[in-house]
C-alpha cells in the first residue's frame, strides 16, 4: 500500500489533516501554517532521497569475490559452472586475468536463435515441437564465441542511482566493478541493488 505509490524523490502525499493532527500531538504552540510545513517537508524529503542515493556507492553494494569464467572455456563447462553456482552470468577473463566480456543466459539464448528475453515456455514449446533442440548449436564452441564484448563495467565510486540508471538504460542484470588499475574487484547485480533499496527502507 505504502510502497506502490512511492516513486523516487516523490514524498508520500501527506494531507493537511495529517499535519494538523501531528501538530496537535506535539505539545505547545507551533507558529507555522500546515501548508508551509508541507512545503518544507516535501523539499526535505527530496533532499533526503537524493542524499541516500548518492551516499551509497557501488563499493558498498558489490559482491566479492567475483565468480568469473575463462574465455577459453567450452560452453558446456561454462554452463556447468554457472549452474553449479546458481548464477545466470559472469564476467569473462583472458589468460592475463583481464576482463574481456560478460557471458550470461542471454548470450546462450541468442546463440540458440531466440529473441531477447524468451520465456521458459517459449523454449519448451520450441524443443517439444522441434526434435532437434537448438542447444546443439552450442556444442564445441567456447565462451569467447558468444560473450558480450566489450563489457560494460563500472567503478567502485559509482552511486547507487548511477548503477540503477546503467541497468535500466543498458538492459543489464550485472555490472562488473573495476578499480583504477583495471582489476576486477566486485560485481553489482540487480539483486544487490534490490537489497540496498530494502535496507534503505528498513533504515527509514
Amino acid at each position: 500500500m505504502v510502497t506502490t505509490d512511492r516513486r523516487q524523490g516523490t514524498p508520500p502525499d501527506i494531507s493537511e489533516k495529517d499535519i494538523i493532527e501531528a501538530m496537535k500531538a506535539v505539545h505547545g504552540y507551533i507558529d507555522i501554517t500546515p501548508g508551509d510545513f508541507r512545503q518544507i517537508y516535501q523539499v526535505a524529503y527530496t533532499m533526503a532521497v537524493k542524499r541516500l542515493l548518492t551516499s551509497i556507492k557501488a563499493a558498498d553494494l558489490m559482491s566479492t569475490p567475483v565468480l568469473k569464467v575463462k574465455q577459453s572455456l567450452s560452453l558446456a563447462q561454462a554452463a556447468d559452472f554457472l549452474a553449479e553456482h546458481h548464477i545466470s552470468g559472469a564476467p569473462v577473463i583472458d589468460e592475463k586475468e583481464q576482463i574481456v566480456g560478460v557471458v550470461s543466459e542471454k548470450d546462450f539464448l541468442r546463440e540458440m536463435g531466440f529473441n531477447v528475453n524468451p520465456s521458459f515456455m517459449q523454449i519448451a514449446t520450441h524443443c517439444l515441437h522441434d526434435k532437434s533442440c537448438m542447444i546443439c548449436n552450442l556444442r564445441g564452441r567456447t565462451v569467447a564465441d558468444i560473450m558480450t564484448t566489450p563489457p560494460i563495467v563500472g567503478t567502485p565510486e559509482l552511486t547507487v542511482s548511477a548503477v540503477s540508471t546503467i541497468f535500466t538504460e543498458q538492459k543489464l542484470n550485472r555490472l562488473p566493478i573495476l578499480n583504477s588499475q583495471g582489476t576486477l574487484v566486485g560485481i553489482v547485480t540487480r539483486t544487490d541493488l534490490a537489497h540496498a533499496c530494502h535496507a534503505l527502507e528498513e533504515e527509514s
Binding site: E16, I20, G28, I30, T33, D36
Partner: protein, 178 residues
C-alpha cells in the same frame, strides 16, 4: 489577476492549543510582567528610572505563549530588543525635527538589522518606535534607554521564562541560546 488571487489566502490556521498550554502561558506572562512592573512601580517610583515599556507586553506573548517559536528564543528576545533600542534612539537623535521620518526609519531599520543578525523579535519594532514616539522621560534617557529599561527588562523577563517554562514536564525553553 494573480496578484489579487494571492490575497485570498490558501492555507489554514494552526490548531488550537490545549488548556494546559493556555494555563502555563497565563502563569508565565503574569509572572514575567509582574517581575518588571513591581521593580518599575515599587522600587523605582521615587526615581526617574524605568523598568517597563509597552513592547514587553508583546514579548510576553512570545516567550510565555509561543515558546517554541524561533522568534521567542533568548537570542531574539535580548538581541532584538537591544538592537532596536539602539536604532530607535539613534533615529530620534538624528531626525527629531521630523518625527514621522524618525519613527519610520527606527522601525524599518531595526527590522532589517534584526533579520541580518538572526535576532528577529517582533516586539523589537515597538521598542524602536517607543524610543521615538515615547514620553520626554524616555527621550531624556538617551542611549541609557538601551540599558534600562530595555536590556535589563528583557533579561528579567528571560529569567522568569527560563523558570516558569521549564516547570511543566512537556514544556521546554529555550530551543536554543545562540
Amino acid at each position: 489577476m494573480k496578484f489579487f488571487q494571492k490575497m485570498r489566502g490558501n492555507d489554514q490556521s494552526p490548531p488550537v492549543v490545549g488548556p494546559v498550554e493556555i494555563i502555563w502561558s497565563w502563569i508565565g506572562s503574569f509572572s514575567g510582567i509582574a517581575a518588571v512592573s513591581i521593580i518599575h512601580y515599587k522600587l523605582f517610583n521615587q526615581t526617574d528610572l524605568m523598568m517597563i515599556i509597552g513592547s514587553f507586553g508583546a514579548s510576553a506573548v512570545l516567550i510565555y505563549g509561543a515558546i517554541r517559536s524561533p522568534l521567542a528564543q533568548p537570542r531574539n528576545l535580548v538581541g532584538g530588543h537591544i538592537l532596536s533600542a539602539i536604532v530607535g534612539v539613534t533615529a530620534f537623535q538624528l531626525f527629531s525635527q521630523q518625527p514621522w521620518l524618525a519613527a519610520s526609519l527606527a522601525v524599518s531599520t531595526s527590522i532589517a538589522l534584526m533579520h541580518l543578525t538572526k535576532t528577529l523579535h517582533p516586539p523589537g519594532g515597538a521598542t524602536a518606535l517607543i524610543a521615538v514616539i515615547g514620553s520626554d522621560g524616555i527621550h531624556n534617557l538617551g542611549y541609557f534607554y538601551v540599558l534600562m529599561p530595555v536590556a535589563l527588562g528583557a533579561t528579567v523577563m528571560l529569567f522568569v521564562a527560563l523558570i516558569i517554562n521549564n516547570i511543566p514536564g512537556k514544556r521546554r525553553y529555550p530551543e536554543f541560546w545562540l
